[in-house]
Symmetry: C2
Subunit: 354 residues, 2 copies
Amino acid sequence: MTYRVVLLPGDGIGPDVTAAAVKVLERAITGQGIEIKIESHLLGGCAIDETGTPFPEKTQEAVQTADAVILGAVGGPKWDVGPGHLRPEAGLLALRRLLGVYANIRPVKAFPELIDASPLRKEIAQAVDIVIVRELTGGAYFGKRERGRDEAGARFAYDTMYYSEEEIRRVLQTAFETARLRRKKLTSVDKANVLDSSRLWREIVQEMSAQYPDVTVEHLLVDACAMHLVTHPQVFDVLVTENLFGDILSDESAVLTGSIGMLPSASLGQGIGLYEPIHGSAPDIAGLGIANPLGAILSVALLLRYSLHLEAAALRVEQAVASAVRDGARTKDLARQGENVLTTEQMTERVLSY
Amino acid sequence: MTYRVVLLPGDGIGPDVTAAAVKVLERAITGQGIEIKIESHLLGGCAIDETGTPFPEKTQEAVQTADAVILGAVGGPKWDVGPGHLRPEAGLLALRRLLGVYANIRPVKAFPELIDASPLRKEIAQAVDIVIVRELTGGAYFGKRERGRDEAGARFAYDTMYYSEEEIRRVLQTAFETARLRRKKLTSVDKANVLDSSRLWREIVQEMSAQYPDVTVEHLLVDACAMHLVTHPQVFDVLVTENLFGDILSDESAVLTGSIGMLPSASLGQGIGLYEPIHGSAPDIAGLGIANPLGAILSVALLLRYSLHLEAAALRVEQAVASAVRDGARTKDLARQGENVLTTEQMTERVLSY
Ligand SMILES: CC(C)[C@H](C(=O)O)[C@@H](O)C(=O)O
Ligand SMILES: CC(C)[C@H](C(=O)O)[C@@H](O)C(=O)O
């Protein structure tokens, strides 16, 4: 069996961490009776620099025939000046849309040894163990938008949070099934006291919950959720929400554990999985070889799990990362004063040594 | 000089805390050479029960000729079942819109004696001192929305985040002027890497900043902001953002200090100010006489400041609250195990005793 994996290193520290991810992926499949062909392509700012567009046709073709895609990160101040459709982010959004990856899955779990870096009090931080399922190809990100001038010449602009029944249903299915494999609690987050799109969302959650009698469903307003994530994150098991709310809440959740550099994500949908660490391009430390590769490496674990269905190999990678952290391996972002600091490569070697 | 203040006790603990607020307001203006006429009207669930609509005409007439409005809270599970326009929240939104209160101002500052109740580590929590300026009468709350079915009969729904140049400009003016009176730093929060309404917002911030050369302006994406509020809230002075982002971020900020029952708000715009504590209706403790009145009392301080221009009286109320807390006065929500617990009335008397 041969799988094709497309690598999109992207911008900033993207190339550093995806190089680490590839090493771990290659090691992880050794002896599994499968082969992996890895091809690198351009996405984001680097693609703009080389081809004039953030998501070149060659990349589009490559990802559509891949089994899985590993993405580093896109963006940086250098490209923040162009018009909207010529920014790195536009490439990322088009990639998500083209792959149809409507469910963005972000596990957020505290590493006991890193709890001191959390902004939360220890008792609260150590209980964090949430999987966020964010709708990724609908809502205000992809609805009709416009900028214009009214008759008097005054500017206006709008964006549309649009959802169809089918868009809501498919991501909820992923969420219900994720909850079923965990503590069986699903929190659906919306703004149903104001928004029509949220009222439809809530209605469909209610309808679908009949098919998942083993899953306890709770509805929470997005403003209340933003509070509860900080005050009692331990009540959350699986949290599902629409695209824009998910963008905000998943980033809020990401800092609760104090180690955002460790967090992976998987975007799933119609077949081809997209895997990326959530930490972003961090242009200030790009190319210095000091970025934390663990978010990218844990994204490889998700790739092994969801795209290659190699659960045992996925767990081995996750355990290797946990062991490295337990045994004191720290990149700059994780190290406390006086602690020994590893480079990206050294940290990768440590993970490979388990 | 006689001022007309309309009181909208609303639902849940609303009547408890506004009764306290009125007592403090009456005391605060004693000897100031002004008179206040207070009239009570229905809004929210109680209005639905009595009149069939959350914002009855009589209330509409009363608030439009008032100098200021004090609101308790609206809503509760009892009214969560009706159609959208017959819910308590619809009354609140219509009230905001009718009064034209486009700028919602929420100061969030830690009380040193209450820091232990914060979910954040002490060093982080004690530095919180932010004023959030939330746009309150535009965006997805008031844009065109619809629920329908496509040709195949499948449901869809959408909401529109619409902003005109003028709507953005006037709330930014409030924000710039607020920053000018504080540490002179303004953080404007948007999602300009995706949304057209955010790109217009950012453009207007940039244009207006030329008129406020003494104010340092920073742009921050809403997802990054949701992180920074938890990891380093001390970098924020004045934060300004659109309606929906403001709903989420102001609630997130509200829990940082650990005492949401203490937080007031002022909604300002075209003349008539609307003052309300941010804690909500808390139906579970309604009528028990144990609600924390300090958020409502501090909202009275804002009323004295912004609607009556009695800065000295406003400061006296704020100092009385600070003194009561410093001297150990605690309602149930603030008390730690073993601490003496005051009722709503007792807490109000304590504040009045300074
Ligand atoms: C870069 C940006 C467009 C993107 C988003 O908003 O989806 C990012 O914040 C993310 O969460 O992956
Ligand atoms: C009750 C609700 C409509 C309201 C809002 O979303 O504006 C509330 O959450 C608030 O922040 O005042």
